[in-house]
């Protein structure tokens, strides 16, 4: 199960952001945000709605230009991006197989392998518009994996999935990290499912409130102020299921 990075400082970052400040008009969305991702780690950004989580990801992929701060990428860094939601206009016909060829054409065997890894091998000839929410997200994941990413970025990737569905999705993400060795940066508000899968959690609310291992963050006053203390129990529940790591909260806080 997750190997905790010994120390972020000794490893060189794949991707780092320093002093990012982003404004939309009068609104300051991000203020002096810095973060770094090293090879193979799972980092989760949590924060309430409107805390700038998605904007931060979009700055990191280069879709938004911040007013201040820099984003540094390792030379030749491949980013696999799974957007929060992807609306395919109904006027555009698109099979799953064709979708996987964007932006680079891949061999069918490679495409099938990616669909297999993402858990949806049966969808290859279907129209994207006919997929269920879960299948759609997995196809997005498969496409992101095809570029052999060094960093996989997921923006609220389990939106629209029920709780068991999103738990399965995140377990798949852990498998992906294990098999491909890529770093993973996710954004989510589903703290209970996400946090325990992470090596490091960054709690964001326009600025970085606190940062550290899931245990450290869930105990941090700044985190508790944002999310209350109730989520600590749900986190423990998940750990109980997947890490077999018993914790004194396990049973008393279970819903």
């Amino acid at each position: 199960m997750p190997v905790l990075p010994t120390s972020g400082a000794v490893m060189t970052a794949l991707l780092s952001a320093t002093g990012i400040t982003l404004r939309h008009g009068q609104n300051t969305v991000l203020e002096n945000v810095s973060l770094a991702i090293t090879a193979g780690e799972i980092v989760t950004i949590v924060g309430p709605n409107g805390s700038g989580k998605s904007s931060l990801l979009r700055v990191l992929i280069g879709a938004l230009t911040p007013q201040a701060g820099t984003v540094t990428r390792k030379a030749g860094l491949q980013i696999g991006y799974v957007p929060q939601k992807l609306h395919i206009d109904p006027t555009m016909p698109m099979t799953v197989r064709r979708f996987l060829d964007l932006p680079k054409q891949v061999e069918t065997s490679v495409a099938m392998q990616a669909l297999q890894t993402a858990g949806v091998p049966e969808t290859t000839n279907r129209q994207m518009s006919q997929l269920s929410g879960g299948q759609f997200q997995r196809v997005l994941l498969a496409r992101a994996l095809l570029g052999k990413p060094d960093v996989l970025m997921l923006d609220e990737a389990t939106q629209g999935l029920d709780q068991p569905g999103s738990a399965r999705f995140y377990r798949q993400i852990e498998d992906v990290r294990r098999d491909l060795g890529c770093a993973i940066l996710m954004v989510s508000h589903e703290l209970h499912v996400v946090m325990s899968a992470s090596d490091r959690v960054i709690c964001l609310n326009g600025h970085v409130c606190c940062e550290g291992t899931p245990d450290v963050v869930s105990a941090a006053p700044a985190y508790r102020e944002l999310f209350g203390s109730g989520t600590g129990g749900a986190l423990a529940l998940y750990r109980h299921e997947h890490d077999h790591h018993h914790h004194h909260h396990d049973h008393e806080d279970a819903p």
Binding site: R58, I61, G62, A63, I79, G80, Y81, P83, L86, H87, I88, D89, T91, M92, P93, M94, T95, R98, D101, L102, P103, K104, Q105, Q127, G147, M153
Partner: protein
Amino acid sequence: MLDDFLIRAGLAALGVAMAAGVLGCFVVWRRMAHFGDATAHAAVLGVAMALMFGWSIFAGVGLVALTMAVLIYGLTGRGQAVDTILGVLSHGALATGLVAVTLIPGQRVDLDAYLFGDVLTVTRMDVAIIWGGAALVMGVLWSHWTALLTATLNPDLASASGINPRREHLILTLLLAAVVAVAIKVVGALLITALLIIPAAAARGFARTPEQMAGLAAVLGAISAVAGLRVAVMLDTPVGPTIVCVAAALFAIGTVVTKLRSVGV
């Protein structure tokens, strides 16, 4: 062979219709119909300028369409609701063009030719320019196909893959201006958008991939052009509107066939 005005007309219509069919898919996918209208309507102003300064019609229309397209492109980047602005620009440019044409001293201009096209009068030179323009549009679409498609699908997905979605949008904008410039003599300013949208829309129901849709739209555009010309000659009707009528009929047939297939007839 090119001495025959009907052959020249057929070739001109064919070139425009095929390029418009493929580019039209992007117009449909990106919901740029209003954008196309505004750019096309501005063409009348281009005609007025060309006549006033003695330029070629293609140059005048191309220049004004380009200016209009880049102007709208700039506005759409700011995340405003552009619908109203497009309406203002579109009809403002059309009206200004109509007024400007009548102010040209010493000329009685046949406005219908520019509003609805007059493909029967195209010269060899016109045919060459139209095919050159159409080939340019097709060539750029071909070489940028994947980037354009990715950016159309989702701008963020494009950014993450190192494609600049704004750049691809600009390319489409410029291509639209080019199509307007070459289409003005064939279908006229008012019906250019029809030639962009109708073949693409007719192709949608039969296509499983974007490429199939684009290919089929080009074929349907070509059929509309050739059949429209024939029908127009037979019935002595204006060619441009007749081409659009044939395209619309193909769309209607296609829609019915798709509906019947979906209910399993």
